[in-house]
């Protein structure tokens, strides 16, 4: 009872740490939960562009502007060149276009007037270029046939009406599961940070030489004390997990999490929280200085989140980094989240890889418990 009381007294004293990492999860987890890409209906992406039209809105120029309004997201208020340059750098604008004076007349006369464009480095800039060049190429082809300005515009419009049929083959809209995937993958950092910091702080307080000596001569057996500490560590970690699940329901929505997918995310995160507790238990045996705990925690939590795809999706990580990440439990936890998102039907084939990942995280937990026991025994012998 006394041991438990002391445990929770220290935990409550450090509640600021829990609040801090929870805010980080909510803030950056929300930023991470961008809009998704998978739906059951095809919808063309509209790149953001800026158009400086120096021509009158007549003939081909009018047709071009109407086409751009339909196929792109035209941004305004970029008269300041520095602002536009910044927007292009940060990929808020994919492409800036300058339509020269007398463009519609020049095209009708069969000339090929110059159009200036500045594109960002992003993928959507390439899409914007494809969209813009499509119209200009059609205009250029018809211009070579000496049509009148009105006929030219009409021909271009008629040609652009020709579409292709798009069949979308996905039967399940998996896009709604990208949000929980990103939330739970980012939670890798928050779970590790919260669990390691608090458990290491508490254990370091109990491991201080004078406290340890006092405990050794007390009536409570050392083994019993260790058992109580371990039990309270587990209760604390369970509390952290429960908090993040509740916050998940609030931020993601109960309709998404109250499903078989949600159950899998929940089980996966619970198993990872248990693993994080065992990691914290091992570290508490190795790190005794309170000032060093924060550094160790940051290296472990940030390192595993960066290397395993907690912050940056795994598909963007270099193969060598991902190969190295296989030795970390976070990799299997985050990979399982990604696999849950990709499930289209619940059968043995789709569930088996997820079960395997969860089993590997459990194996890591056992390995950490064995390591902690080994370190304890070794230290006892030295003492």
């Amino acid at each position: 009872m006394i041991v438990s009381k002391a445990f929770w007294k220290i935990a409550i004293k450090n509640i600021g740490t829990i609040i801090l990492y929870t805010i980080i999860l909510l803030l950056f987890g929300s930023i991470n939960m961008n809009t998704s890409t998978t739906t059951t209906q095809y919808e063309a992406k509209k790149p953001s562009i800026v158009v400086f039209n120096h021509d009158e809105r007549k003939g081909v120029t009018d047709g071009f502007m109407t086409y751009l309004e339909k196929n792109t997201d035209i941004k305004t208020d970029y008269a300041d060149d520095d602002r536009l340059k910044d927007a292009l750098f940060y990929e808020d604008v994919a492409l800036a276009l300058d339509i020269p004076e007398n463009y519609h007349q020049d095209i009708a006369l069969g000339r090929n007037p110059e159009i200036r464009m500045r594109a960002s480095a992003g993928y959507s800039a390439e899409l914007a270029k494809v969209v813009v060049k499509r119209y200009l190429t059609i205009a250029q082809a018809y211009a070579a046939t000496n049509l009148s300005e009105a006929d030219l515009a009409a021909m271009i419009d008629k040609t652009l009406e020709k579409n292709v049929t798009i069949d979308i083959k996905s039967s399940v809209d998996t896009s709604k599961y990208s949000k929980p995937t990103r939330y739970f993958s980012f939670a890798n950092y928050s779970i590790l940070a919260c669990v390691i910091t608090i458990i290491c702080l508490i254990m370091s307080a109990f491991n201080r030489v004078e406290i340890r000596k006092r405990n050794l001569i007390s009536r409570t057996e050392l083994k019993q004390m260790d058992r109580v500490l371990l039990k309270n560590c587990c209760i604390y970690a369970f509390g952290v997990w429960l908090l993040y699940i509740i916050l998940g329901f609030v931020t993601i929505g109960s309709d998404v999490l109250w499903s078989a997918y949600g159950l899998l995310y929940t089980i996966n995160s619970l198993v990872f929280t248990i693993c994080a507790t065992t990691i914290a238990y091992v570290l508490s045996k190795l790190v005794h200085s309170q000032s060093a705990i924060s550094g160790v925690m940051n290296v472990v939590a940030l390192g595993s989140s960066f290397l395993c795809g907690g912050f940056v999706p795994a598909e963007y990580l270099p193969d060598s980094v991902l190969a190295f990440a296989h030795i970390l439990p976070s990799y299997y936890y985050i990979d399982a989240n990604n696999k849950i998102m990709a499930i289209e039907s619940f059968d043995w084939n789709t569930l088996w890889p997820i079960i395997l990942n969860i089993a590997i995280v459990i194996c890591f937990s056992f390995a950490f418990v064995a390591l902690a026991a080994y370190i304890s025994r070794k230290k006892q012998k030295i003492a």
Binding site: I31, T37, F89, L127, T137, Q140, T165, I166, V312, Y316
Partner: protein, 386 residues
């Protein structure tokens, strides 16, 4: 006396392992992690040809124009597609297993595109397929126009068709591409250096606390020593500043020459940001120590919050600087982290240095304000009780 005190202040600083970890080791570890995590992020964003399948049946073989258009788009340096020819069933399987982004088949003389998801590659496939489909319409239109213009005279259809196909295939708009290919990931490293600079506020705050009698016992001892306060404060701050400047410079050189992050071509101006940024954060630490009668832990939390919020606004954690510049334009103009980041950014992205100069002058003004306020408060202090 100044150099004697400086020597011991510097020695005690470098023996403080916790401080050394956060100011020296931690930014290096983060730089390494950033480099590993973001290495492919920029490359990934650059357009690369992607895999599609084409159902190679009789309809496709008969559509000669369409066939040659797809074939042309899968060849050369600027190819868009890596094409795999397959039966409809195999194409379906490949799409299901996500081996391809989509597939194309011809039915009733029309192009059909099958995709699994809604994404940028899928939009490119659909847009280009539309373009091909429209090219066919264009050839037909041009041929029809020429027949109409002939006014009943004898015409050579194959010749007109060949001419129309030539017009369509040779149509090339006169587009002058003035794009500059820059790496958005660089901003993460600029903010990281800015963050490392701001850690200096922790060092200078710690060094100032040692000189203030109302904060530490060491301050009480130091204040009754027969040494001028300006000598003690000056030597302590110089030791902290020097350590910070060396660590920030090492970080810049490490990211520039080991990790290959671009900062622009002018190394002297690049290092000037480190000189001025370190000075500003040192003055900020001095200001905090003088005006905030709190434990060093509380001051560290304030420095950490100012730094991390500044980093978020300056573009760390996802490059949202431009978003915040639009929403709250004044923040990055007064935040030292924002100014340091923008200093590096303007060196990297802009051809002239006027924006860079504004950033450097703003940092110097902030440092001067912190310094003036701190000195004003420190002068002629008398304590009734400490």
């Amino acid at each position: 006396m100044f150099w004697h005190n400086f020597k011991f202040a510097f020695k005690t600083l470098i023996k403080n392992r916790e401080l050394i970890f956060w100011t020296l080791a931690f930014p290096f570890i983060l730089a390494l992690l950033f480099n590993l995590a973001f290495a492919r992020l920029h490359d990934y964003d650059v357009f690369e040809a992607f895999d599609i399948a084409i159902v190679n049946d009789e309809s496709y073989q008969n559509a000669i124009g369409i066939k040659s258009a797809y074939s042309a788009l899968s060849e050369g340096d600027e190819k868009i597609f890596n094409i795999k020819y397959a039966s409809r069933e195999d194409a379906d399987k490949m799409l299901e297993n996500e081996e391809i982004e989509g597939y194309v088949y011809i039915a009733d003389g029309q192009i059909h595109v099958a995709v699994k998801t809604n994404g940028t590659n899928q939009t490119v496939l659909a847009t280009v397929s539309e373009q091909i489909s429209q090219s066919v319409v264009m050839v037909e239109d041009i041929v029809a126009t020429d027949i109409q213009r002939s006014g009943g005279q004898e015409i050579n259809i194959p010749e007109i068709a060949a001419k129309a196909m030539k017009i369509v295939s040779e149509a090339e708009p006169n587009v002058k591409d003035e794009s500059r290919v820059m790496n958005i990931v660089s901003i993460e490293f600029f903010t990281l250096v800015a963050m490392a600079c701001m850690q200096g506020a922790m060092i200078s705050s710690e060094m100032m606390d040692r000189s203030l009698p109302n904060i530490t016992n060491r301050g009480k001892r130091v204040s009754i020593a027969p040494t001028r306060k300006s000598v003690i404060v000056g030597s302590n701050l110089l030791a902290g500043y020097l350590l910070l400047f060396v660590s920030v410079t090492l970080l810049i050189l490490f990211t520039r020459f080991v990790l290959g992050i671009e900062y622009g071509s002018n190394i002297a101006l690049m290092l000037l940001v480190a000189v001025v940024g370190s000075l500003t954060s040192t003055m900020m630490g001095m200001f905090l120590s003088v005006f905030l009668k709190a434990k060093s832990g509380a001051k560290q939390v304030i420095v950490l919050v100012v730094t991390m919020v500044g980093c978020l606004f300056a573009g760390m954690f996802g490059g949202m600087k431009n978003y915040f510049d639009e929403a709250l334009p004044f923040v990055n103009k007064i935040s030292p982290v924002g100014l340091i980041t923008d200093g590096f950014y303007s060196l990297y992205y802009y051809d002239d240095i006027s924006r860079y100069v504004v950033n450097i002058v703003s940092l110097l003004v902030i440092a001067a304000i912190f310094f003036a306020l701190s000195v004003r408060s420190l002068r002629r202090n008398r304590y009734d009780s400490v």
